[in-house]
Symmetry: C2
Subunit: 240 residues, 2 copies
């Protein structure tokens, strides 16, 4: 019985399910890394920072496991059409998830330096950006687990809001730096933290595009929405 | 005759060669984008900046073409073992190349703002970092074209030098910002330019790891060399 077509198909479906589970497990780890990084920055929580960094090898190990599994699936099952698209998509998404984990770990490292400074301003804007990115990340990992193109499209549409917050934050931080040179080191780290968050949002959007394509065979329409104009930002000191 | 095994094999080899050509063509485009971005920053050349940005859709289109080609190859040829590893590797490398193009375009955009400022210091350090990254990028694209693990290992080993230059540059730029608030905006863009360059170096290292693995079936040993400690940098103003 074990080699009957039904059994083969069943076991193939189980393998695809296992691949999806590897992805959502990896998603859960990086989601947790981002949550720990947020806690580390906003609450000056050094323990959270250390845990965010320590999770990184687990995400990397899952990426390698998923990759090996994909190669085995391709070799043994020789999938075509829809299945093949799903499997190649999984490979792409592990790459994005791995980068998200890297960025979260980098944010956590910077939070440790940041905690040495007493900041003369609140981190409300940054905390807001964290929440937005975390919501998108959660939603996109749900979209991966459910293979849901509509949820994916929702994430894709909201990335420009994250970009707009980033651009506003960028200007705000540069202004603080101009007001007092003692703000320069902490604000530089905050700039990079915000930039890393913005990249996490970008990778969530990449994943959304991949989920949508894998589920429907159709790309999301045209250029993705863009609200980040910080590369063109010119801010001049008020008292030169 | 057209369906004879020999013909099939020949045409399969041609397809693998075509895949490699797509990769090196994409590599050539992003290499050129980085060269244009360097010219834009160091020589304040706005035309070069515009050209670097305008090349981006070409790199993106080649990425999509390579992806479609990989999916077709997997479906029609159902490769195993060594061939499968090469094809999956190609897919991974297009992702890294696409990011390199993105970073080069971002550098080019920032150069346009930067050109509005008269900088009170030379860009020697940054120009040096550009040259190092460009050398590594050239070498790794050669390694892709020749499927050469030794060249790949050479790139992999030299990434820590790029990281060290980045860390030194980071400290230098923060110091300029502290000396005069008018330096803050241009130096912030320079910080992000340097960071983007460092990421380009990282992606070149990723590609090196992939080439090595695809060619030999072996990963490069242990952790990659790391010279970037800027996430932990604390620089205090000399006259607070």
């Amino acid at each position: 019985m074990s080699d009957s077509p039904t059994h083969m198909i069943k076991s193939y479906e189980q393998e695809l399910k296992r691949l999806r589970n590897l992805l959502t497990e990896m998603g859960g780890i990086v989601e947790n890394q981002v949550a720990l990084a947020a806690q580390a920055v906003v609450e000056k929580d050094a323990d959270a920072a250390i845990r965010a960094v320590e999770e990184d090898p687990r995400a990397d190990a899952l990426e390698r496991e998923a990759e090996q599994f994909v190669i085995r699936l391709l070799a043994l099952r020789q999938p075509v059409a829809n299945d093949l698209r799903q499997i190649v998509a999984a490979l792409k998404m592990t790459g994005d998830l791995e980068r998200i984990g890297d960025y979260a770990a980098n944010i956590a490292k910077r939070s440790i330096v940041l905690a040495e400074f007493s900041l003369p301003y609140s981190l409300t804007g940054l905390a807001h950006m964290f929440r937005m990115v975390q919501e998108n990340l959660k939603l996109v990992i749900d979209a991966v687990g459910d293979n849901d193109p509509d949820k994916a499209a929702q994430v894709w549409r909201s990335d420009d809001v994250v970009d707009e917050i980033y651009t506003a934050l960028f200007r705000e931080l540069v202004t603080y730096m101009m007001e007092d040179p003692r703000n320069i080191t902490p604000c530089t780290h905050l700039l990079f933290i915000a930039k890393n968050l913005e990249r996490i949002g970008d990778h969530a959007t990449n994943i959304a595009e991949t989920v949508h394509y894998a589920a429907t065979g159709e790309s999301l329409p045209g250029q993705r929405p863009k609200g980040n104009t910080s590369a063109y930002a010119v801010i001049r000191p008020s008292n030169p």
